[in-house]
């Protein structure tokens, strides 16, 4: 700030300066001089994210469909009511919410459990850690195909297990009341390793002294974890939860890879698949743009508590 402030203040307000001087003043301004550093990311974000959201919202207010260019003269919220009244949308939104909540919660709990186990100083700790984390490194395209084989009714591993324990074979993908659970299970398999690593990092950062102090005071292991350790992992939980929720919204890739089509297995339709189907199979641009807006609202609703939390922490 310092240098430009002094130049400006030494210039008497009444003095007539030429435009070249004005330009030089302007270019010497802190804001302008720092613009290469904040301006480029700002522009990229602005165009790619907020420009995209704005354009999407604009399209959703038109009646655009097919190959005609959208007509912006007559904007209304008709598409939003149309979307909201369709039963396909409501069931997709419901599936999306279930996916979001169940997947995130189970991933967090399972990851915490694994992290606590791993933190007990077991042998070959790093190898085990890598094994748990590996599924996350795999693309959805691959894991979807693998799970399709695992869920095969006749020869899939899952049914070999259920037969072994006497439940009998289950039509994991074909039964619409189970299919969503099967998909969530596969996603949890892929992402619990990630939460484990996040929690493990959190656990590692806690000083040993606290464990020792708790032990000296006579606290059991369970109490130590519940009262002392887990409350300190709040930061890790929040950041892991946000990442997981974003992945839950991206489950489109997994579902698309399961069938190779925009229509996922019956009972697992989510907003993203519904939106892509309406847009790229049928060319209903405005309609699917409205679905996209609802999806954005859902995502914001999920993120809002995190933002509020950050705000209260003074990070925003």
């Amino acid at each position: 700030m310092g240098t430009t402030d002094t130049t400006e203040s030494t210039t008497p307000a009444t003095e007539e300066v030429g435009w070249e001087t004005k330009v030089r003043y302007f270019l010497n301004n802190d804001l302008v001089r720092s613009s290469p550093y904040w301006g480029i990311p700002f522009l990229l974000m602005g165009i790619a994210v907020y420009g995209g959201i704005g354009f999407n919202t604009a399209i959703s207010l038109t009646d655009a469909r097919g190959l005609q260019q959208p007509d912006y003269t007559n904007l209304d919220f008709e598409m939003y009511t149309q979307v909201f009244e369709s039963s396909a949308f409501l069931s997709a939104a419901q599936n999306n919410l279930v996916l979001l909540v169940v997947f995130t919660t189970v991933c967090l709990l399972l990851g915490l459990f694994l992290a606590v186990l791993l933190d007990q100083g077991i042998r070959n700790e790093n190898t085990v850690q890598t094994i748990y984390l590996l599924p996350m490194a795999l693309s959805f395209v691959i894991t979807a195909q693998v799970w399709l084989w695992l869920y095969n009714y006749d020869v899939g591993l899952m049914n070999i297990i259920t037969r072994g324990i006497g439940i009998g074979p289950i039509d994991w993908i074909g039964n619409p009341s189970i299919a969503l659970g099967s998909v969530i299970f596969a996603l949890i398999w892929q992402f619990s390793g990630y939460t484990m690593v996040v929690y493990l990092a959190g656990l590692r950062s806690l000083p040993n002294d606290q464990f020792e102090a708790a032990r000296v005071d006579g606290a059991s292991t369970l109490t130590t974890y519940l009262k002392i350790i887990i409350p300190q992992l709040k930061e890790a939980s929040v950041s892991a939860a946000v990442v997981l929720m974003v992945f839950a919204l991206k489950a489109f890739t997994f579902l698309y890879s399961l069938t190779g089509r925009y229509r996922p297995p019956n009972g697992t339709d989510i907003l993203a698949t519904l939106m892509v189907r309406q847009a790229f199979k049928l060319g209903k641009w405005a309609y699917s743009a409205a679905i996209a807006t609802y999806l954005l609202i859902l995502a914001l609703g999920v993120i809002a508590p995190y933002l509020y939390y950050q705000y209260r922490q003074g990070s925003l």
Binding site: Y153, D171, P176, S205, G260, N266
Partner: protein, 460 residues
């Protein structure tokens, strides 16, 4: 649990920043490169090749002899693997032999059921960046491109006399919105029942006796009780197989007219309910348990392996059988018309369609003319397992299975257009029909709801 006295090994911040910087730079380069919005998954850089063609040198290497083709022909198709790829390559080779000077770019946009192909075409056309032509189903399917198709009637159809040599109903299906924007390439027959000869023999089923739905159900029952083989293969990873099976059952049970009335929006609800009941009975009792995770090629594999006795499918399935040298036509597998549909040829067409505002008008016309030639149709269809739509092809030029189908194509009594492959209903209606099947006919079953959903799908 960290030991407080252990030195903290932190990430090298500079390396991290460098990596982030490189990532951003790569991202920026990626964003600014695709100016035309052509994010096609299989190929990139079409902007650059367009540019060099304009200066007239890069592709025509034969001495720059004033070639009449100055624009690149760009064709999108979905045949990215298997027999489809072999077939389209044969077609492309024949075309390049005919037009060695023309700069061309044939682009396979893969993935099943043309989902990526159709999405790419739609996106490029709405962005005002059309290609020269693309492979698609004609008929009501062209509804997606309404108002944006090139009329080839004078330049291709009339100048080559194709209206006289192509099947009349193929000409009708290529006629859309009073234009002729497409040239048919080949036809698959829909109403086939493929069977494993050994499996039928083991169960004592005589394929000749399968002439209607009751005889088919008896045969399935016999296979189930006499053998360990699954009586029928039905892929149910997606609903289109259920839709096409139902269409055959309806035609078999209630007649082609009942089917035609349905696709025109005047379906007889009772006939539909009855046929759906049979589909339900087949799918609940006679198909493999793993249908919901299996594609039709998985099922074809099971039939080759002798785990499935028969299956209904368009005759593209023969393409899969042909690639297996140990599974031969007439020896290991054979086919009959779907029981009760003898004398009917379930009509399917693959066509090459030209969009309006064509970037390469002359080249597109030359290519579309070529698609209609006997040479092109024989080269493509022999490998694809479909049959030419010209009526003047000498069937000795065709493979044995294809020659048989070709005779049926020219001599059947009825030609109901396929519902699951774009000819009979618009894309939106087809999507709703698939939803009807997906929600009510792939377990848990609700025949009444499926009938209502199907009727309402085609009513508007």
């Amino acid at each position: 649990m960290a030991d407080n006295d252990r030195p903290d090994v932190s990430t090298d911040r500079r390396k991290y920043m460098a990596a982030v910087g490189a990532g951003i730079a790569a991202g920026v380069a990626g964003c600014s490169g695709g100016d035309g919005g052509d994010g096609g998954s299989t190929s990139s850089g079409d902007g650059s090749s367009d540019g060099s063609d304009g200066s007239g040198g890069s592709t025509s290497s034969d001495g720059g002899s004033g070639s009449q083709w100055d624009t690149q022909l760009e064709v999108l198709h979905g045949w990215a693997g298997g027999d489809g790829e072999a077939a389209v390559n044969a077609l492309i080779d024949a075309f390049k032999k005919e037009y060695p000077d023309m700069p061309t770019k044939f682009q396979a946009v893969g993935a099943s059921a043309n989902v990526n192909l159709n999405a790419t075409i739609l996106r490029r056309m709405v962005n005002g960046n059309p290609m020269s032509s693309f492979a698609n189903w004609p008929g009501k399917n062209l509804e997606r491109y309404r108002g944006n198709l090139m009329d080839l009637e004078a330049d291709v159809w009339e100048s080559e006399g194709y209206k006289d040599v192509m099947q009349g109903r193929a000409v009708d299906l290529c006629n859309f919105n009073d234009k002729l924007p497409a040239v048919p390439l080949g036809s698959h027959r829909m109403n086939n029942l493929f069977y494993n000869i050994a499996a039928f023999e083991e169960a004592g089923v005589d394929p000749e006796s399968l002439t209607d739905m009751p005889s088919l159900m008896d045969a399935l029952d016999a296979i189930k009780s006499e053998t360990d083989i699954a009586p029928m293969g039905q892929a149910m990873v997606a609903p289109w197989t259920v839709l096409q099976l139902w269409a055959q059952v309806l035609q078999s049970q209630a007649g082609v007219d009942a089917y035609m009335n349905f696709i025109e929006g005047n379906g007889d609800r009772q006939a539909i309910v009855d046929s759906l009941e049979l589909v339900k009975e087949i799918q609940q009792n006679y198909i493999t348990n793993d249908a919901s995770t299996s594609s039709f090629t998985d099922m074809g594999g099971k039939m080759i392996a002798g785990e499935v006795a028969c299956m209904h499918q368009g005759n593209w399935l023969a393409g899969q059988f042909r690639t297996d040298d140990s599974f031969n036509f007439g020896e290991h597998w054979d086919w009959i018309p779907f029981p009760g549909t003898d004398g009917t040829y379930g009509y399917h067409i693959d066509a090459i369609v030209a969009p309006a505002n064509n970037p390469s008008k002359d080249e597109t016309i030359a290519w579309q003319k070529f698609v209609g030639t006997t040479e092109a149709q024989v080269a493509f269809n022999n490998l694809k397992g479909s049959v030419p739509l010209r009526t003047d092809v000498d069937s000795s030029q065709l493979g044995d299975f294809i020659a048989l189908t070709y005779e049926d194509l020219t001599s059947s009594e009825r030609y109901p257009p396929t519902i699951a492959h774009g000819l009979a209903v618009t894309p939106e209606q087809m999507g709703n029909c698939k939803t009807a099947m997906s929600e009510n006919m792939m377990g848990p079953y609700d025949v009444e709801a499926a009938a209502d959903a199907l009727l309402s799908a085609v009513s508007n």
